[in-house]
């Protein structure tokens, strides 16, 4: 019995390795706020949300599979909450007893397993009822298949057998073992047997010849221990089978808890964002070779959770473009735009909705970030050295159709040197089939990549009166640094002279 609410052909595996740059993504894209909203105070939900956003990208068909299930749950938030609760009750069952098998004797294993299975079978019956009640209400392939399998695998006849086994396994009438003469003349290959002539274990066969039975004296501790060991030897395999069955039923509940938990986290997030008036859309997923990237009113989800509808969205038409260069005013929303792009791509690939009016994008082979790191300034190895090392690590793992987000990369050295290093890196990556979105204030870099094909230039919008809209719009790079604006704004006066080494016009 499998859950498979996240993947058509397998269950969620939290051991699956995260994207190699998971830590950098969380930090650079500022995903913490997003994850907190998804968690809603439940650490497991946070872990599940984090795992989903940071495991490798999926096939478009697999993403649509999740979107279907998510749509069902967005329409019926109570259903996902009930599933999550039931599953959590199952997982909690192991707290009712000292749950680990290690160092238990077979008979202790048997007793513990029976206690837990009694409880779990009750929960399975409740799950069956839930499936009976809702199988007609859901439209997605994932949920329909799940409910159908519950109704098929847990039918009444099977539930009766389960109860009968649990009773037999009490062994009220003793145990029957078969054996062979093994090494040293001792019994071996002990196998637990169902006594002949009875569906129940335990009726003594009456026709044993005299002298072939004996009793161990209740005062002979040594012999009693030997007898218990022999009985344990005979019970070991059935105890193992029961312990494994308990593991497996628990694992079923754990998987259900995790898979329902993922959707519950999404529902939590949708509720928080909708409260704040942020538009949500299940995005349109395109094949990688389409190079699709199109958005209407794209917001940065994390920022929206802080500031709600006050956040400004950008429109973007970058279908077919391989290099996006974003220039323009400092504090003008360039970094926010870059983060919204990366976050939307991760959410799309996790099968979650995106914070936009409309969003369509190709799946990538991975999302990478190369952001300026303030806190690394103190490192002995020098800042440029550190930037190069990080880029080299990315180059070691990146594949064609990946999305690389660069935020002021190589700005730690002078503009001439930095833009030449950047030009070489960007050109090599774009030619290899990586999509690069590069936020830079280096006009020189923008100038040098102008000749590359399929390049889109964007600018942080600034109205003629100098006011920033925090929107990113198409626009060629301009050779003036808007840092002067900041200077003027903050100092309230003109800078004394143009900064040294200003680029030629």
């Amino acid at each position: 019995m499998m859950v498979r609410l996240l993947y058509r052909d397998r269950e969620l595996d939290l051991e699956q390795p995260l994207r190699p740059n998971a830590e950098a993504l969380v930090q650079d894209l500022g995903l913490d706020a997003l994850l907190s909203a998804m968690a809603g105070g439940d650490p497991l939900l946070r872990q599940l949300a984090r795992h989903a956003l940071l495991t490798g990208p999926a096939e478009p068909a697999a993403i649509r599979y999740r979107q279907g299930v998510l749509a069902d749950f967005l329409a019926r938030p109570d259903l996902v909450r009930r599933l999550y609760e039931l599953a959590s009750d199952g997982v909690e069952a192991k707290k009712t007893t000292r749950f680990f098998w290690f160092r238990d004797t077979p008979d202790t294993q048997r007793q513990k397993a029976l206690a837990m299975l009694e409880l779990l079978v009750g929960l399975l019956e409740q799950l069956r009822s839930l499936a009976d009640a809702h199988h007609g209400d859901v439209a997605s392939e994932g949920l329909r298949a799940f409910f159908a399998s519950l109704r098929r695998e847990l039918d009444d006849a099977y539930l009766r057998v389960l109860h009968e086994r649990l009773r037999e396994l009490q062994f009220r009438d003793g145990v029957l073992l078969s054996a062979r003469v093994g090494p040293s003349g001792r019994g071996c290959d002990y196998v637990l047997r169902r006594p002949r002539g009875s569906g129940l274990l335990g009726r003594l066969t009456p026709d044993l010849p005299r002298g072939l039975s004996f009793s161990v004296s209740p005062r002979d501790e040594y012999a009693l221990r030997a007898l218990a060991e022999l009985r344990d030897r005979g019970l070991a395999h059935v105890a193992n089978a029961l312990a494994q069955a308990t593991d497996h039923v628990l694992a079923f509940f754990r998987t259900l808890q995790q898979e329902a938990g993922f959707y519950l986290a999404c529902v939590n997030l949708a509720e928080r964002l909708t409260e704040r008036g942020v538009p949500l859309v299940l995005p349109d997923v395109a094949e990688p070779d389409e190079w699709a990237l199109h958005a209407r009113d794209l917001r940065d989800a994390s920022l929206a959770l802080h500031s709600g509808s006050a956040v400004v969205g950008s429109d973007l038409d970058a279908d077919g473009r391989r290099l996006l260069v974003v220039t323009g005013a400092n504090e003008g929303g360039k970094s926010t735009f870059l983060r919204s792009l990366g976050t939307a791509q991760l959410m799309l690939e996790a099968g979650i909705f995106v914070t936009a009016e409309a969003f369509r994008a190709s799946v990538s082979s991975g999302v990478y970030t190369h952001f300026k790191r303030e806190e690394d300034a103190a490192l002995r190895s020098g800042k440029l050295d550190e930037e190069l090392r990080r880029m080299s690590e990315i180059a070691g793992v990146i594949r064609p159709r990946a999305l690389l987000l660069c935020n002021e990369s190589f700005a730690s050295t002078n503009e001439a040197e930095g833009s030449e290093i950047a030009r070489q890196v960007v050109q090599a990556l774009v030619e290899d089939g990586v999509r690069v979105a590069y936020v830079t204030h280096m006009y020189e870099l923008a100038r040098r990549v102008q000749a590359l094909p399929a390049t889109l230039f964007l600018r942080a919008e600034r109205l003629p009166d100098g006011v920033r809209t925090f929107r990113v719009v198409p626009g060629a790079p301009q050779p003036t640094s808007h840092g002067l604006d900041s200077y003027r704004r903050i100092f309230g006066r003109e800078p004394a002279a143009e900064p040294a080494g200003a680029p030629e016009r």
Binding site: G185, S213, A243, G396
Partner: protein, 510 residues
Amino acid sequence: MSDGFESLLFPAEARPEPEEEPSCFRDLNFDVVVAAVAGRRKGYRLEPLFSLPLRTVDEVEYRHEVFRDLERHELRTALEAFCEQELRVRRYLELARSQEYRLEKQHILLEAATRYTEAIAALAAALEAAEPASRGLRGLRAFLAEYTGSPAFERLAGDARSVLEQLDQVRYTVRIKGNRVSVGRYDGERDYTQEVEETFARFRREPAADHLALPPDSGAMDLVEAEIARRVAKLFPRQFAALDAFWRQQRDVVHPTVARVEREAQFYLAWLEQVDDLRARGLACCLPEVCADSHEIEAEGAYDLALALQRQRDAAPIVPNDVALHDPERILVVSGPNQGGKTTFARMVGQLHQLARIGAPVPARRARLVLADEIFTHFERQEDVASLRGKLDDELLRLKAILEQATSDSLVILNEIFSATSLADAVVLGREVLGTLVEIGCLGVCVTFVDELASLGEATVSMVAEVDPADPSLRTFRIVRQPADGRAFAAALAEKYGLSYRRLRERLAR
């Protein structure tokens, strides 16, 4: 018995094994090698075999022949299987003597005899089929052919087989309820564990953790088992009468030559296992060509075996090196940066030759070595007297002893000599010592910080621990033939990180 077969290790009679390790073992870290390889066969006490040098090339060749035979899978598996069985046979025989219940003694003796005769027959057949080429294994084959043909052996095997077959048919049941136990004949009752497994099969998922908690087995029959066994014997009288008859004809089971071969085979099997492990990690091993009448050595892709064994767990790669001395060269002078692999290199040369002396495989891709009559080592001793004067005196005393004993067939390894004195003194003293070694005509390795010692004449070869041309702070651990010097290198930053357009395209194209 047959053609005077004595030993798998020596062409003639086996020699007495020394009790003490040679003093060079610690300096060469050869004690690590001994512990690792001999430690694979605890209980056979193989350690003395590592300290017993062979005296002639023929003795070395005798072992190499066996190693070459055992590279054939069928021969090695046959010998391994044989040794495993023999070990069990010996344990059973000890057990049979110490057991309490007679039924148990009878069974154990039967088992020992069965395993023994099967193991001997299997090895004899395997050796017949495989046509070994080595003198050692051919001798063993001849011995086994004669032994297995003897009437005593044939009777032992036949009797054991017949009794065992009868007992093998016995199937019985035990019912336990409370403290009451009943024994009966097995009558096809169904496997209940299977029923339980089938019931829960639909929940099964992989991987399934195994919780099987079989009670610890005392290894001996206890009182309850003995009570049950007696009743089983009563239920199956014919089968147990045969067992009793077998036991009444007590006899000696293991032939003394078989016992010796079992231990000697461990030397080969332990080494082969070690070589497998090393090869699995990408480290080469080979049987060296060993000469007695030459001073030329040549090894390709050699490495410090002790270091490789110690590094087993972490992933740090072992850097192999080449080493060669061609007439009239006699002495390798190794210089270069600290932590660059110089001492490791010196140890490696010593280990190669010690391994050659015991006829073992060596850590190298290909090697041609000399059969040294003795290996002398002089390594700095941390625990020595603190005063410089005392330390230098002690060093000179130890060196004098080496120079007096070494012959033209010896190997002398000097590590960091005269580090306790001034450079000017070290130059003079070092020249003096190396000059004497050249006069003796022995082979030598001298690790030194004194560049001047690297160019004393045609008998010395200068080797240098290399650094990474791109980043002089990085050691490559390669020791290369090159005049002693200390240049630094620098390279462009982006190139260093492989991020120039050209390099990056190459990297992405992989």
